[in-house]
């Protein structure tokens, strides 16, 4: 008391998401031991994440043994849609959370029988920004864009484009009806990530899905 208060600076230097990343690393190691290839699917609301997974699960029947975790702010609708095509689906309700975190994925995985599973899809919450920075323990991140969102979305979301191991451009069947500049979209992607593969697909018509399934097989 009476002494003038001095402040002292305590240096730390640690990644802010250290705690999340440690959990993610454990998950990655566990999945790797089981031979499970895992995909964090990131895209905007309405870009067709669930539709893409429905079409994908349909085509993987008898070929791969997938499991799916699906994150959403509210409702079980996506999980119910996917459960028609896959026995191992767990819905993660994030409440107010705009993205999945490693702990939620790890908890959800306890509810899945992973015996024999060789592929894990994690459908993130519809959002092109927040999910990118949170490692979930996946092997690859897939950035899903769609023609109806407009051709500037890659340029406006550089972190996702840079972090993505694959870019999917969905709703390609709508190209004749929209003014989406595919060359411009690709040029933006290339500036940020010169080597990432870009696949044009339509979850509705099935166009381009064979290339997507081949890409998944290469990840084994």
């Amino acid at each position: 008391m009476g002494e003038p208060t001095r402040t002292v600076r305590v240096p730390i230097v640690e990644r802010v998401l250290e705690a999340n990343d440690e959990i993610a690393a454990k998950t990655r190691a566990d999945l790797g031991r089981r031979g499970i290839f895992s995909i964090d699917l990131i895209g905007a609301p309405g870009s067709g994440k669930t539709a893409l997974l429905e079409a994908t699960l349909q085509r993987l029947a008898g070929r791969r043994r997938p499991a799916v975790l699906v994150g959403d702010l509210a409702t079980r609708r996506d999980g119910d849609r996917l459960a028609r095509w896959c026995e191992r689906v767990v819905q993660i309700s994030t409440g107010e959370g705009c993205h999945l975190e490693a702990g939620q994925v790890r908890d959800a995985l306890r509810d899945v029988d992973l015996e024999g599973v060789d592929l894990l899809f994690i459908e993130n919450v519809g959002n092109l920004i927040c999910p990118v920075g949170f490692d979930l323990g996946q092997n690859v991140k897939v950035g899903l864009f769609s023609l109806t969102e407009g051709d500037d979305k890659a340029a406006k979301h550089p972190y996702l484009v840079t972090a993505a191991d694959l870019i999917l451009l969905n709703k390609i069947d709508l190209a004749p009806y929209l003014t989406f500049d595919r060359a411009g979209f690709e040029a933006d992607v290339r500036l940020l990530n010169p080597t990432v593969p870009i696949l044009e697909v339509s979850a509705t018509t099935g166009a381009g899905l064979d290339a997507w399934l081949d890409w998944l097989d290469q990840g084994r």
């Binding site: 305590v10 990644r15 802010v16 705009c98 920004i129 920075g133 550089p158 500036l191």
Partner: protein, 121 residues
């Protein structure tokens, strides 16, 4: 000002600061470094920080953000410079120089009062 994206980051910082800030010392400041790729807005981060720390032992502390810029390299003339935004033209006329950015998100330091402060919880 869109603060939603910054809110979860501010929450993560708060949780981390709590594990480092010495008990009973009033927290004055928190320093973080943010890479360009993160797309985090400094002002929005500070607003989110105020909201997250309101009513806690970290209230009224200042979040200092060292916002790292994009590095821009022109493939035509070789010029290199930094920019707050990734898509810019070069003075040589090239409309599409390459942007690269870091994705660091680091807690660098906290500043606390050296003397015990009875108001601190």
């Amino acid at each position: 000002m869109p603060v939603v994206h910054e809110f979860s980051i501010a929450e993560a910082i708060a949780a981390q600061v709590l594990t480092y800030a010495p008990v009973g010392k009033r927290l004055r400041g928190v320093e973080i470094r943010v890479g360009a790729l993160r797309g985090l807005d400094s002002e929005a981060l500070q607003m989110a920080w105020e909201a997250v720390t309101f009513g806690t032992s970290m209230a009224d502390s200042v979040l200092e953000v060292d916002q790292r810029p994009w590095s821009i390299t022109c493939s035509e003339c070789g010029r290199e410079w930094t920019s707050p935004v990734p898509f810019v033209s070069c003075s040589c006329g090239n409309q599409a120089p390459s942007p690269t950015g870091g994705d660091e998100l680091d807690l660098l330091a906290v500043t606390v009062d050296e003397e015990d402060d009875e108001e601190a919880v």
